[in-house]
Symmetry: C2
Subunit: 458 residues, 2 copies
């Protein structure tokens, strides 16, 4: 690995320049105006892979193109599929960014830009590690299949369709994804569990037009008020979700699990400082890590209705809406949640307004076996990259594609997070540590070595 | 009055052209970008009054200029102050207007534009009636003082300051305002009661930045959820407002009042059709007219927080806010309501978030004696203008300046509404009937005659 290490050292600056190029492209998948940027980001990746000797294809889809490239099969070595996504979250609210979201800026050793950690920066570590192998050894020690999509932030519809029709092409022994976080700065982690998600939009309509709140107030139901009553009725003051059947399939935590989480030594004062909140809260009877990783939750992601401008407007709005989502834990089914939710909303909706629930997207939770040889290989590789063995953790967020891979390709995923939990993922001033970028590349280069000595399809 | 009637007939088209000129000016007082338009509307009115022989002054203020003009005092005749406002509500949501809000368009005998009925169209009727007197008789039969402000929709701060310093100049026997509605099409009304208002903005803040709802959901309080819980806790399912002391000063309705309202023959099926709602709702135990005119109410006027764009965003928002207002009835004091509200919000706010209540503006309710000679004079004048005697009604909305006039000038106000309750005041597609515009001018011309024979300061 000596020559690889040297190559990585010599090319640090160029790797960072490549990252900045990719981060400049405003590939926001939720925003229809960014379709050109989506194609541009896909094209950049395909060109880049091709230039490294990994001829890449832009797979057309109904939405964002999929970038696919593979290296030659290697006898007696496994095939690893590397997944990532080149689309990013919307950058709003723009006025809270210290530097513009698509003008990557380095401050204090971090690069600030939308997509820095989620997922362009992390994705690129695996491309750069492959580059180091190819440029120094002439070939990779195993077969890599790169699969990069542009719709991860909006439900991965096109990739799902592609998994159905290209399962043979994508056949592999294990999948590697870097789209998550270290446990703490300097403490790398392998994530073996993810929460699922069920995401909805709720719209409430009253009169056919906005009305004067003086002339009509008190005589018809205000849709904003109906909405607040419905949403606040979905959870009680002790943090229990009030949806029929919601907890039926939730597996209680074992004492072992609780002890393992407690042993991680979660730094709650640091957590509070980092977020700027005065106290934690949530479902009664659970610790913060338990709440984030192992318990289902409800968050309103957005709400709107009536007058939001400067000053006051005495309006009784005609309609209101909200986006909200449940985080799901293993065995919870989104379809069952949706059915209970409709039942509950029907109970909660006051007379005089109509409501519509839009089921936007969902993904089940996943748990991958922590004792597989792939996990052991990743543990060794990460220790080489970061100078410290990783801990096994779970994650509160969802990577819906992980459960799709399990279902459609029949393989488990190694979730190797190079990010930090204060990277402002999905928020203003998203960042990624450049030191972690390079450590991730080095860990990834070792990972190809460690995995190559395992049997294919063990 | 024969020559006046002829003059009004001959000048119908020009009067409508004048109205359209004034409606073209986007004088939105809540929008800082419209300051130029505010000055333009004030200037238009001042020039117009001056051109009619009523030399007008633009009174500078900290905000929008006040337009003031007066005709000479007339011996043994009362002085009447005519109040109106040239500012308008914000036109949003713009996409719901069939024709642009500041391009007045006539359809089916109505002029459609922001400000058509509230209040430019109604205000202008009194200017045009004065014009008819001046052009045909050479003088008015009593002294008129025109007082037009440009901050009615944002709390009338500058006018209030002006009332304090110009009480002598504004001294009068009675005030006339046309900024309300007829009871039904063809059934004019004199409004002798108005609800008051107490308008607030509530802001809730959680973490210092937006967070990923997967990584953090369930472990800290979501400010949008805190907001929905706080707002929905302000009113119960039976429509009773849950603020300590809120109903303490509310005077119960008498049987007489209830009978008088019932005798008006409110057409509820028409009301529902007009609004496009399937049923009425509100405080249990009251009719729709009672709820609108005589009972206090709560409306959320606007709400916002988190992601409102296309698609989905898995964000745990850093902050959320809402604008809401209570409608007050006689004897309720806004300061007492505010104190109870703060107490209630403190109870309702879940741990882990901070909230701020901004007291935006307020006005008490007013009730004017229905048996004064001024009311009788107005009844006769309106019958001349509209061909039918007016009924005495109350109104759910607030005209805060009416209580200020009572307090600071010591006089009552005649509220003579020429509008209709489906005029979409404060909503898209605001309109004003041109037939009512001309009937209002004629009623106003008669009003000067009827009032002129009353004693000054009776």
């Amino acid at each position: 690995m000596q020559r690889i290490h040297e190559y990585l050292e010599q090319n640090r600056q160029r790797f960072e320049e490549n990252l900045v190029e990719l981060l400049r492209i405003p590939s926001v998948s939720a925003d229809g105006r960014c379709r050109g940027a989506i194609r541009q980001a896909a094209g950049w990746l395909a060109d880049h892979l091709t230039s490294l000797g990994l001829p890449a294809e832009l797979v057309p889809t109904d939405g964002a193109p999929i970038v696919y490239a593979e290296s030659p099969a290697v006898a007696n070595a496994p095939t690893v599929l590397v997944y990532g996504h080149y689309d990013v979250q919307p950058p709003e609210p723009l006025d809270q960014w210290l530097t513009p979201p698509f003008e990557p800026t380095v401050r204090d050793g971090n690069v600030y830009a939308r997509g820095a950690t989620d997922d362009k920066g992390q994705l690129l570590t695996h491309v750069k590690s492959a580059e180091a192998w190819l440029k120094t050894q002439g070939s990779l020690p195993l077969q890599l299949k790169f699969l990069f999509e542009g719709e991860e932030e909006v439900g991965s519809d096109s990739l799902n369709a592609y998994l159905d029709r290209a399962a043979d092409r994508l056949a592999c022994d294990v999948i590697v994804i870097s789209d998550s976080s270290q446990f703490a700065p300097g403490q790398p982690a392998i994530t073996h569990g993810l929460r699922g998600i069920a995401y909805y939009e709720l719209r409430v309509r009253g009169a056919q037009t906005d009305l004067h709140s003086g002339a009509f107030g008190g005589s018809i139901t205000n849709p904003v008020q109906a909405l607040t009553a419905m949403l606040s009725g979905l959870i009680d003051a002790s943090g229990r979700i009030q949806v029929p059947g919601f907890y039926d399939d939730v597996v209680p935590m074992t004492e072992d699990e609780r002890e393992r989480l407690a042993a991680l030594g979660f730094d709650e004062p640091r957590f509070l400082r980092q977020l700027g909140v005065v106290e934690v809260s949530g479902e009664a009877g659970y610790t913060t890590l338990e709440r984030r990783w192992t318990r289902p939750s409800l968050d309103i992601n957005g709400i709107w209705g009536g007058y939001q401008g400067e000053g006051s407007k005495t309006v009784l709005p005609a309609e209101a809406g909200a986006k909200f989502s449940f985080r799901l834990v293993p065995r919870q089914q989104a379809s069952k949640v949706t059915a209970g939710l409709r039942q509950r909303l029907k109970q909660l909706c006051p007379p005089g307004v109509r409501w519509e629930l839009i089921d936007m997207h969902s993904a089940p939770a996943v748990l991958v076996p922590p004792d597989s040889p792939y996990v052991a290989a990743a543990q060794r590789a990460i220790e080489q990259g970061f100078g410290r063995p990783p801990v096994l953790v779970r994650e509160g967020g969802s990577i819906p594609i992980v459960s799709d891979f399990r279902e459609k390709l029949g393989v488990d995923t190694l979730l190797l997070g190079w990010g930090l939990d204060d990277d402002n993922m999905h928020a203003p001033n998203e960042k990624f540590s450049l030191a972690d970028f390079h450590r991730g590349i080095r860990a990834s280069a070792h990972l190809w070595q460690e995995l190559s000595v395992l049997d294919s399809r063990p």
